[in-house]
């Protein structure tokens, strides 16, 4: 049985390194102590899953049989540990299958971070394959949501997501990441969010 017994690899947060957006997602999750996540792969989230494969000794991903199973499992995990549950799915139907669990977490104040893949940013709004406007769909049932279209946004937005999910009255946060953001490159440093700073929100 695979459970949360693996040690966290120390994430180097002081030195800048050039990595892909997808790898930044994994490193950010590990920096937040989220080493057990539930999900279901698909086209729009494949770059991130490729990184899961490389990091499989540090980050344990549980493949469920439906995205709704993934998000309810993340909820069960969050309820029993008090930590933030993490669920990950692809775009389109993968993302919409999470919505029931997101609504459930919203009304029952369960801390969750949901990551959904999204089509490339140049395709947004074109009815591309497996494209849905998950930000609009999830707005009424999330504490916060955000669509990442540039790799450089990933560490700060994920840090903010975990902080928002856990702080005050807990709740679900959904982060939608376009495929080009996953492929894009950034100089990675990670800083945990200690409180929400109002003005300096999106560092360019």
């Amino acid at each position: 049985m695979e459970t949360v017994t693996k040690q966290n690899q120390k994430v180097n947060t002081t030195k800048k390194i050039k990595i892909s957006g997808a790898e930044a997602v994994v490193k950010s999750l590990l920096a937040e102590g989220a080493d057990l996540i539930y999900g279901y792969p698909g086209g729009a989230i494949m770059p991130v899953y490729d990184e899961f494969y490389k990091y499989q000794n540090e980050l344990h991903h549980v493949l469920t049989r439906h995205e709704q199973g993934a998000i309810h499992a993340a909820q069960g995990f969050a309820r029993v540990t008090g930590k933030v549950g993490v669920a990950i799915a692809t775009s389109g139907p993968g993302a919409t299958n999470l919505i029931t669990g997101v609504a459930d977490a919203q009304i029952d104040s369960t801390p969750l971070v949901c990551i959904t893949g999204q089509v490339g940013s140049h395709l947004l709004g074109s009815d591309a394959f497996q494209e849905t406007d998950i930000i609009s769909i999830s707005t009424p049932v999330t504490k916060w949501n955000y669509q990442i279209t540039k790799a450089s946004e990933i560490p700060e937005i994920l840090a903010k997501a975990f902080y928002i999910a856990k702080s005050g009255r807990p709740g679900p946060v959904l982060i939608d990441i376009t495929k080009d953001a996953q492929f894009g490159e950034l100089d990675f440093t990670y800083k945990k969010c200690k409180k929400l700073e109002v003005i300096h929100l999106y560092l360019k």
Partner: protein, 371 residues
């Protein structure tokens, strides 16, 4: 005077103080502070559905669960208390029933982290904002040590009535059908009240909440506000992985089981040793109960023709047993708990059992029905 001091003064002078506590105590990890708070002032305390297990079930100040299918005493005496102290709960409509007749005689104190919840449903007299871990420990020095023996006795008296009218018949059933309550009671015994109970949505959820004995915090996981069927099977997988050293038992109805039944595949692949009890009455139980009480037993689309859950479980590599007779219940649950692997128990329970007490939608909490 600060809000904390204001609240403390109300509590100190109360003759019939009553605490209703919710998930806020668990989310704030304030179980110890909460216990110290109610013990110092000897306040009878009732839990909401999501507040269960924040206080050990057998604590002498724990007077049951409030709400639509909660216990008789806390629902009735909500409309007799003089100070109602709401801690980490949001006055959900299933708890309050008709707001026009909810605790109108009492002063209301609300310990709450979300300012938008204060005065949202119920007008408060004193709102103490913040994480209950801080606010409860903050108020204890201002509380006077107090005794409310005769007030507490009123709860115990009403519990005796509930026991006679409802509970006894469910725990010591003379008819052949196994009751859901018996299953939960036996489970309490075999797990010593230390298991994590993950329940789905419906009659079984209400019975599991009413009868399960919780000794440890974070022991009750269920879909409360949204009431999502299909929640328990995947949630129990996540719960077991999060708490590998605790026994995790999912209590699921036959309807709910089929909503996310594919997650048995996740158990097969991860080998997570989750225990599953299906309380199988071959009905969509809660809807059927409403059809019986309010729609003259017109059972529209609530009859379930179920598959053989044992064969399905075995197909997923999960050990499974069926229990149809009362005399086999105890040993079956014992075997399930003893197993180091995942295990499914399909228990045939009485088909048309009803959950009581009950506050019909929009009724007054103190008019809770015993039958």
């Amino acid at each position: 005077m600060s809000k904390i001091e204001e609240a403390a003064e109300l509590i100190n002078n109360a003759k019939k103080p009553f605490v209703v506590f919710g998930q806020g105590v668990t989310l704030g990890e304030a179980e110890e502070e909460f216990k110290a708070f109610i013990e110092k002032a000897e306040i009878p305390s009732a839990s909401t559905l999501l507040g269960l297990s924040a206080l050990p079930s057998e604590h002498n100040l724990h007077v049951g669960m409030v709400g639509m299918h909660g216990h008789y005493a806390p629902n009735v005496l909500t409309n007799s208390c003089d100070v109602l102290i709401a801690i980490g709960m949001r006055f959900d409509d299933r708890v309050t029933g008709n707001l026009e007749t909810y605790a109108k005689q009492a002063k209301i104190i609300h310990f709450e982290i979300d300012p938008a919840e204060v005065d949202k449903n119920v007008k408060t007299d004193v709102a103490v904002l913040g994480n209950v871990k801080d606010t409860l420990s903050g108020i204890i020095p201002f509380l006077k040590e107090n005794r409310h023996e005769s007030w507490l006795q009123e709860f115990k008296k009403l519990y005796q009535i509930e026991y006679k009218e409802v509970i006894d018949g469910q725990l010591n059933a003379s008819h052949e059908g196994i009751t859901m309550a018996e299953v939960i009671e036996t489970l309490n015994d075999k797990t010593n009240g230390e298991a994590v109970i993950v329940s789905d949505v419906g009659q079984h959820q209400m019975i599991a909440s009413r009868f399960a004995n919780f000794k440890l915090p974070k022991s009750k996981i269920t879909s409360g506000g949204l009431g999502t069927m299909g929640f328990a099977l995947p949630a129990s997988i996540g719960a077991k992985m999060g708490a590998p050293n605790r026994e995790v038992v999912a209590i699921i109805g036959d309807g709910s089981m089929q909503m996310n039944i594919q997650e048995l595949g996740t158990i097969l692949q991860t080998k997570v040793p989750v225990k599953i009890i299906i309380l199988n009455n071959e009905f969509l139980g809660m809807v059927r109960q409403w059809q019986e009480l309010f729609f003259d037993k017109r059972y529209a689309s609530t009859v379930m023709t179920n598959p053989d859950f044992i064969k399905i479980a075995e197909g997923y590599g999960i050990k499974a047993t069926r229990v149809s007779k009362r005399e086999n219940l105890s040993s079956a649950i014992e075997d399930m708990i003893a197993s180091k692997e995942s295990y499914l128990l399909d228990v045939n329970v009485e088909k048309e059992g009803n959950v009581f007490p009950m506050i019909p939608t929009g009724a007054t909490v103190s008019d809770v029905r015993l039958k």
